[in-house]
């Protein structure tokens, strides 16, 4: 009697548990947009309204299409990754993967500068931009995913600005940027996407024949291998085809080649700064010395000048060089290609020359100090 009672209880319990599970599973399986909207139009009305007005809404692409279900959305903090968007936007996704935006996160994760800073700072600052690898909505922001927005220079300007790469500032002080600002007409003057994403390509590395950031090394492909001279020339030709929308072929080539020369001149100047510091290191005058400080996260106890140099815990003379290569050198060469005389000259070349004076003066002071000490 007792045994059968326990047995019946067990059966009931099992059945009810199974039913519960089934009900819950079904609820998520058949989740429809009405289920989401019933809460979200009140809880996150701004986001809801953006979606209502979007092309997605008109075409029947709703919450569930991208976020799958509430549980899945919750687990990944509502993130939707590019491969999900690529299910519909196949061409754009494939192009995206050819450009350096698709390496934004991976390259950051192994970079010495990133590894050298506290986790909070990484999350609050570095990761906010470098997450572009995992977020189409870095540029097409949620939930309108508007083309108009994404094509506007302001859209690029949340990451591409500031001392380390003032693309926004360089563009705004170029004739291209000024005429576009006045007319808002991409036929009259190009905006960022006109040159970097012509015909709507999502390969943001289109036509870029020089780089990567801040080093003198050859241009590299996505696997960080230097590209051939032929590939370099092919990319240059690609870009020139954009320029010929308004400029003559000869004019465009001449200007880009002039920028190549500006780049070389900038790097020569940078090398002078580098050489002065290398001498100081050889003379054993760095403070703190390489032995006295934390080793570089990726390069160990070596003198790292230029990328991936750290801005933390180095000597003052190295810090002077950091400003020279990271902020000023980049303005010289990138502004050359963006045709901003103010940034190439005033904020770039002039500042580099002043940096060089500072570096030499500091080297001299360090030597004098030691000589006096010995006396």
């Amino acid at each position: 009697m007792k045994v059968s009672f326990v047995f019946v209880c067990l059966i009931i319990l099992t059945l009810s548990l199974t039913m519960c599970a089934t009900v819950q599973k079904n609820e998520y399986d058949e989740i429809d947009v009405g289920f989401c909207i019933s809460c979200h139009q009140e809880r996150t009305p701004g986001l809801f309204q953006s979606w209502v007005e979007s092309k997605h809404a008109k075409k029947g692409v709703n919450c569930v299409t991208c976020h799958i279900d509430h549980q899945a959305a919750f687990e990944q903090k509502s993130m939707v990754f590019p491969d999900k968007c690529g299910e519909c936007h196949k061409k754009e996704f494939e192009e995206f993967q050819k450009g350096r935006h698709s390496l934004g996160w991976d390259r950051m994760r192994i970079h010495g500068e990133y590894l050298g800073i506290p986790p909070e700072i990484r999350t609050a600052f570095c990761e906010r931009c470098h997450i572009v690898q995992k977020r189409c909505n870095s540029c097409h922001t949620s939930h309108s995913f508007s083309l108009k927005e994404a094509r506007d220079p302001d859209s690029c300007a949340s990451c591409h600005l500031g001392p380390d790469h003032p693309h926004k500032e360089m563009y705004e002080t170029s004739l291209h940027g000024i005429v576009y600002k006045l007319t808002q007409d991409p036929e009259r003057a190009p905006r960022c996407v006109t040159c970097h994403m012509p015909n709507g390509t999502h390969n943001s590395s289109f036509g870029i024949a020089r780089g990567p950031v801040g080093t003198k090394s050859e241009v590299v492909d996505l696997k960080q291998a230097p590209i051939s001279k032929e590939e370099e020339e092919r990319r240059r030709e690609e870009m020139i085809r954009v320029c010929t929308g308004c400029h003559s072929r000869r004019f465009a080539r001449e200007h880009l080649e002039n920028a190549d020369q500006v780049k070389e001149a900038g790097f020569e100047l940078q090398d002078k700064g580098k050489a002065a510091i290398q001498e100081i290191e050889e003379e054993g005058l760095l403070y703190p010395s390489l032995a006295e400080r934390m080793p570089h996260p990726t390069e160990g106890r070596t003198l790292v000048l230029a990328d991936p140099q750290l801005y933390i815990g180095t000597s003052y003379i190295e810090r002077l060089f950091f400003t020279m290569f990271k902020f000023h050198s980049i303005r010289v060469w990138k502004s050359g290609y963006h045709f901003s005389p103010a940034y190439t000259h005033g904020f770039g070349w002039t500042e580099m020359q002043l940096d060089l004076i500072d570096i030499k003066e500091e080297a001299e002071k360090l030597r004098q100090m030691i000589q006096k000490e010995k006396r």
């Binding site: 800073i117 609050a124 600052f125 508007s146 927005e149 500031g162 380390d164 000597s315 003052y316 100090m369």
Partner: protein, 362 residues
């Protein structure tokens, strides 16, 4: 004939006298009751711009004219046409009350006692500090004369006049956040917030709404009284619930704020490290006793090492922690945190040189 002429002429004279008297007598009450016509007669020619702005304003449509706010010509002249918030508050009572709850209402008092303000020559005080800090006395700092347009005042540009530049780059931080870039394209606060969306939700004029810290990063109220943990949480909750949840989910929002809190602490840590270096020099007698660092520090007449600290605490620190709360990434990182670190290197090197010089002198 002549007689008639004389009589007529006498009558005319009498008439002229009478009419002059009439006009004179009438003009006495006219001055006393000053009519808008009096002002317009001159001002539509002499200050055409402000006249036209008023003509197109909501004030003009509702019959609020020169006299309503400026009382009369004599009084307006004596006050250099300034109209204080209390006058605006006669009609806009709620706005005045809210305004008085926020920090804008103590902006002038705040600089008056500040040593940096006192150390400046008068023309510089007037040309710089007072131009912004007079917001305490001027509703038209944001609602500029004579349109007083809410549309203008709600635009980020209206805030930019004061909230930009080295010491408080709110404009730059906002403009480089996703909030700012999306708003710049769409000009639609349903899509992305502007300054007023977060700091003045539902039109409140208490601009300290939802803000836990003062400009120096201290959790205090507008009178400098420390806020308890509970009150701090209550204030943050207001911001999060009334504003952020319009678009963001709860967990994500709270995470972002907590992250910003941690960034703020990190920046404070670097400042502490730099201060320690300077205090040691002070104790060793290399710097004179009584070095003032941070809030009441002057940017003039100090040693170079103190000047480096000045940039850290007043500029780079602000970029870092306020940048984190405004969700500016690249801009706040490089102008803020990276520069803080580089300044720390400079301070340590400067300390070493000062010690070395001191040793050689002996």
């Amino acid at each position: 004939m002549v007689e008639t002429f004389c009589r007529e002429s006498a009558m005319l004279k009498k008439g002229f006298f009478l009419s002059t008297m009439m006009i004179f007598l009438l003009s006495i009450p006219l001055w006393a009751e000053e009519k808008i016509g009096e002002c317009l007669a001159c001002h539509q020619k002499e200050t055409r711009g402000i006249f036209q702005a008023w003509v197109n304003s909501k004030h003009a449509k509702k019959g609020v004219d020169c006299i309503t706010c400026h009382t009369n010509h004599e009084k307006a002249k004596a006050k250099k046409s300034a109209v204080d918030p209390e006058t605006c508050g006669k009609c806009h009572q709620d706005r005045l009350r809210q305004f008085q709850e926020g920090r804008h209402a103590i902006a002038w008092n705040g600089i008056k006692d500040h040593p940096q303000y006192q150390a400046l020559p008068d023309p510089l005080k007037k040309a710089f500090c007072e131009r912004c800090h007079n917001v305490q006395f001027k509703c038209n700092s944001c609602h500029t004369s004579h349109a007083f347009s809410p549309h203008e005042a709600k635009e980020p540009e209206a805030c930019k006049k004061c909230h930009a530049g080295l010491a408080g780059p709110h404009d730059e931080m906002y403009a480089s956040s996703l909030h700012g870039t999306v708003y710049a394209v769409d000009k639609n606060t349903v899509r992305a917030p502007n300054c007023a969306s977060c700091h003045m939700p539902k039109g409140t004029h208490n601009i300290s709404f939802g803000v836990v810290y003062d400009s120096w990063g201290n959790p205090v109220d507008k009178n400098g009284k420390p806020l308890s943990k509970e009150v701090q949480e209550k204030i943050r909750k207001q911001m999060v619930e009334d504003v952020c949840y319009q678009c963001h989910i709860k967990t994500l929002t709270l995470e972002r704020f907590e992250l910003a809190d941690q960034v703020k602490e990190r920046a404070k840590g670097l400042l502490g490290e730099a201060e320690k270096v300077i205090r040691e020099l002070e104790q060793e007698g290399i710097l004179p006793k009584g070095v003032v660092l941070g809030r009441n520090q002057l940017y003039q007449g100090s040693s170079r090492i103190e000047a480096i600290y000045y940039r850290m605490s007043q500029f780079q620190n602000v970029y870092t922690w306020k940048g984190a709360y405004h969700f500016s990434a690249d801009f706040a990182h490089w102008y803020g945190w990276a520069h803080l670190q580089m300044s720390l290197i400079e301070i340590k090197e400067e300390a070493r040189k000062l010690r070395e010089l001191n040793r050689l002198r002996k």
